[in-house]
Symmetry: C2
Subunit: 226 residues, 2 copies
């Protein structure tokens, strides 16, 4: 039974890695599309989100099947419940990539990336991709050093998120209302993407350390500065 | 065992109702604070969010304990997994109420509610409160008619969300960048609140009908129009 359970967990882990990799591709394409107003790339992201949703749904079904057939208890049970939550966060990260792609499509042929914030959003995009890529690696290797690296990327995202609002609310901001709206939404999406990456990473920490705390489990919501 | 399970489910249900009622109070206060720039009311919401988080955490622990001790299978198992997801959505609704309160506090003593959009945001606030109140009632009574009413409130919220962007992007919009930022974030929060209410309501539908579909379970993300 123990052997069966461990095989099942490996299956779960493999699927989490697969979804995280799909999310990495999605956020990479979405942020490149946003930066270059590439509407066809944006549309690829929008279409591919259904695949992420399906994979997350299949993972949920597998987790429920493990609960039903193998009846895990104690730490094993918490691992399976964690997998359900990681699946939900990864699915949400895919949605956020889709939202960034939608912003790009909506503004086309105009640029979605607001003037004066190009380098900021390029950097936010890079940090999102980095966080997603490291999350996939963390899920594959359970190398705990990656957790801090993902946190660092999220901290940098939070700082850039604040800087976007400082810029938009400064006297020097010349953007039209549409640029202000785009900057607000896009910055919020990037910031939330990082939050979800940290939320998943903390659950992986639990899997490797066995230390379960309320903080491990709670969806960590970085205070919205703006 | 069956009897014990049903008692446990009643406990779960009672806690879901309690959290939904706390969320109703939070969104009611948050939207009133936003409408009247009442910073002390906003602070009440911000402080009280920890209670919602704690209650959601306790409910999660109870659900995990039920899984461990009673080892439910089939539909019973799905009910418990659904409760975990409803708990996460309710907790997130509390966070959104807190975010609206934070917007109010940040702008104080200025008004957070953007000029020209007062009636729109008052209406969005009313719809959020209505959705939350009906959700609490739905969780208590499992009266399926309420599900459609919550959907209708969410549809109305989506329409108002689109109208906010139409207004902000129109030639007549005179708001400064800060008003544009506030309108964008506040509208997004209201819209997401409605999405989560529908997501929980659909899971209650499952509890009463026993019909489990991918759609019942997926976090329904209304396409972001802007």
């Amino acid at each position: 039974m123990r052997e069966v359970f461990h095989q099942s967990l490996e299956d779960v882990q493999g699927r989490l890695v697969e979804i995280a990799e799909l999310v990495t591709v999605a956020i990479d394409k979405a942020t490149r599309a946003f930066g270059t107003s590439d509407v066809s790339l944006a549309e690829e992201v929008i279409e591919a989100d259904a695949v992420i949703d399906d994979k997350a749904g299949e993972l949920d079904e597998l987790a429920i099947e493990i609960l039903a057939r193998q009846q895990p208890v104690a730490r094993d049970l918490r691992i399976v419940v964690s997998a359900l939550r990681m699946s939900a966060s990864l699915e949400r990260m895919g949605d956020i990539a889709e939202h960034i792609a939608q912003l790009t499509r909506m503004r086309f042929p105009e640029r979605a990336i607001p003037k004066g914030l190009k380098s900021t959003f390029l950097k936010m995009g890079e940090l999102d991709v980095e966080a997603a890529r490291k999350l996939a690696e963390l899920l594959r290797t359970q190398d705990g050093d990656l957790i801090d690296e993902i946190r660092n990327a999220d901290d940098a995202l939070d700082e850039l998120h604040v800087s976007v609002f400082e810029k938009v609310l400064s006297d020097s901001w010349q953007g039209e209302a549409s640029a202000t709206v785009d900057a607000t939404l896009a910055s919020r999406y990037h910031e939330r993407f990082g939050d979800h990456a940290v939320s998943v990473a903390k659950k992986v920490a639990y899997l490797s350390t066995g230390e379960w705390t309320a903080a491990t489990d709670a969806l960590d919501i970085v205070t919205v500065e703006q």
